[in-house]
Symmetry: C2
Subunit: 454 residues, 2 copies
């Protein structure tokens, strides 16, 4: 693969909706605890990884976007300036969670340089308790969340090693999946698209038949989460025990994802009530769903469901029940679609949203949904960089026009790691949402416990 190559529609989508206020960049933040002094570990890691040129896709892609609806092109380059992309940084004293949050918020706000491959890797020393952080940022057009996590899971090792593994930009590449290798031309995509309108009309009807738990676009109320946003981000994080959430899902005959949505719902309900801005109509969340074939880690392959967050329900069990009914309806609807059209379907189902992202002035209309809540499955067991165990693994996501908050959750080694990505100006106190999410677990556990007793 050399020369310029056209991007898939699903990848190009992220170049179309990119803007100075809504840079389409996603990231992972990983915390490692080395055995040796952390400063020495960071120095060795940067030295080891600096030695590798960027030879693996998508880290050697130069992106040439084109205006919607034209997919841009990608060019494989051989002279990636690793000293630019791999950055050694430090927290100021005392190097606690607060200082890490401030630095990561700044890094996540900084735009990527469009003249270079659209990624940066930061090795951050100065974290208290002899730990270091690794922050990898990339443009969403390079890979979706599942592919990015898979890529990092393949970079690190599942047991301690004497030497550092090669960095993600110099991995041995897994084989492409048949779907991607064969590829689908734009023509085929258009043919697939004719299968979609029937599904789309079912979807849109959700806005009319309000007794159906299937949530449609534009059922979302206007809310404080849907104000105009600027380019600066605030990042907050939280960690919950996956075993505890799994047990709650079992007790309540729901899913881990439903419990996660219920916790987010409780936190948002409380945050908006603090502001005196809780809408009467329930918030809705867009939940991306991976439609990726096994072994395929290239580019974007995501569909979506819309979930009723039931933020109008006072009772936590009623809230959970309403959420569960809507996600079940959404998944059933998705399964009724032809597998081949799922990704295109997401684009088409998102067409009004896409239009709103791109057309100036379209932001005043009712939101298609209130926020994105994305639950990404991650590695089940611990990962290592050399002899240092990865203790925490947070996802950080992007914001779109009039969507001031994104919640992305990554499962890793028995924990759920929450990354809250917010517009600095609209949600200056996003840290409260993180705290409320943790506290929501106690409330829900108590309610489910009581419910189980009665």
């Amino acid at each position: 693969m050399t020369g310029k190559k056209s991007m898939s529609i699903a990848d190009a989508f992220w170049t179309w909706v990119d803007s100075p206020d809504t840079p389409m960049q996603v990231a992972s933040l990983m915390i490692f605890r080395p055995a040796e002094p952390a400063v020495e570990f960071a120095r060795r890691l940067v030295a080891a990884w600096s030695a590798y040129p960027a030879t693996s896709r998508p880290f050697n892609y130069l992106t040439h976007p084109r205006p919607v609806p034209l997919p841009g092109t990608r060019e494989v380059i051989t002279d990636v300036d690793i000293d630019y992309h791999l950055r050694h940084s430090a927290l100021h004293s005392p190097g606690g969670q607060r200082e890490l949050g401030v630095l990561v918020s700044r890094l996540h706000s900084a735009p990527l340089d469009p003249r270079r491959p659209l990624w940066e890797m930061h090795v951050i020393e100065g974290l208290e308790d002899n730990r270091i952080a690794v922050y990898l940022k990339a443009h969403h057009s390079l890979f979706d969340g599942v592919a990015g996590i898979r890529l990092l899971a393949e970079t690190f090792t599942t047991a301690p090693t004497a030497e550092f593994p090669p960095p993600p930009w110099a991995r041995e590449l897994p084989k492409r999946s048949p779907r991607r290798t064969v590829g689908r031309s734009l023509g085929q995509r258009v043919i697939d698209a004719v299968k979609v309108p029937r599904a789309l009309s079912t979807f849109a009807l959700g806005a009319v038949r309000r007794n159906d738990p299937l949530v449609g676009p534009f059922q979302a109320p206007p809310s404080a989460l849907n104000a105009a946003i600027g380019p600066q981000r605030r990042i907050s994080t939280a960690v919950l025990d996956l075993g505890e959430i799994r047990a709650l899902a079992r007790s309540s005959a729901t899913t881990v994802n439903d419990i996660v949505l219920a916790l987010c719902s409780t936190a948002l309900r409380r945050y908006l009530a603090d502001l005196g801005e809780l809408p009467d109509v329930p918030l809705t969340a867009m939940c991306p769903v991976s439609v990726r074939a096994a072994g395929d880690d290239d580019g974007n392959a995501v569909s979506l469901i819309l979930a009723d967050l039931a933020t109008n329900e006072q009772d936590p069990l009623e809230r959970l029940a309403a959420i569960s009914a809507s996600t079940t309806a959404g998944k059933n609807h998705l399964q009724s679609l032809d597998a081949g059209v799922l990704s295109d379907y997401a684009i088409l189902a998102g067409a009004p949203w896409l239009a709103k992202q791109i057309v100036p002035g379209a932001s005043a209309v009712r939101p298609m949904f209130n926020l994105v809540i994305s639950n990404v499955p991650g590695p089940r067991t611990a990962l290592y960089a050399g002899d240092a165990r990865m203790e925490e693994f947070y996802p950080m996501s992007l914001l779109s026009k009039n969507e001031a908050l994104n919640i992305t959750i990554l499962s890793y080694d028995g924990k759920l790691n929450f990354g809250f990505t917010a517009c600095r100006d609209v949600l200056p106190h996003v840290q409260d949402v993180a705290v409320y999410t943790v506290e929501a677990l106690d409330e829900l556990a108590e309610a489910i416990g009581e419910g189980a007793l009665t």
Copy 2:
């Protein structure tokens, strides 16, 4: 002063030529040595300065640019988010000159957020030998180099103090100079402009009458310094003793500025020869000249001369003589102009350059000059932040299209502090230019010493 107010042409100029590849931001880097542990000093300084809202111009200006030739407007705002603009940062270990250079290069490459007042202040800990750095970045439309330095000189104190002084964004403002208070309407500016063409034609004739030491625009040769540039910067610094340079100027019957230009010339000659790209025709430098009235520290008030750098001369004394002849001719020419038109004159004399900055594709023509070398007078005695003495005080400047290097020199407390601002891609080894500049002083001192003996 409230509401929106039109910018002066001289200030608006910097908004017109701003682009993603050429952000028009300038900066100062100051190194302090506190008595207490540097980490504690940094913490106290950030805490003290965080408490001050931004009440002083231009730190409370929101800039609304308009397309050339319309001057944009400025709005005074009262809710500047100091926690955004004042940033506590750290160097990674070992915190030497190299690590400081890397961090400052990154900070200087990062674009300012156009939705906020166009400045950032960074307090940087982790510098070796118990020192801290303070880096202030601002858009050039807020103030020129002289005004920025004056503003910092007024912020800090000339003797150690128990408490920190108020930050620059909360200073008591000096009175406006009569020139600025009275103001000049756009109409008056146009009237002034009719005096300029005669001077301009004299200036342009320099390109024809090559025996006249007055250097005109477009005498500059194409060079490796005039390649297309990207947005990433590399910063390098050097310090020389002002007393030694003053003595050399006396011995050679030239000026400090001539010696500085000769040192830069020697360094550039050697750097370009290293690359095998030394042009036969001498490089020329644009040297800004302040036309600021005493007590006026607002906005931009700068004219210019062009200097022959005589990089084609092998002999250092011949080089110095040619440089001196051209700067003398340039200054005589400037003095022949009406004082009131000097600033407008700079704009008009720069018109072809301005056109080149703004018109796409105009970059292929011969450069108007090869680089900017700006010698800014700074404080003569040491400054203090609380009890910490400022040991070094470096200027960092901006690059324009097809100008990959800027050299700005600031005199401070008996030293000349050189800031080399380069395009990362075009001049990856700008550090060599800094080293060569220091070594050039020995060569020139030896040559002048020998010359004085003969």
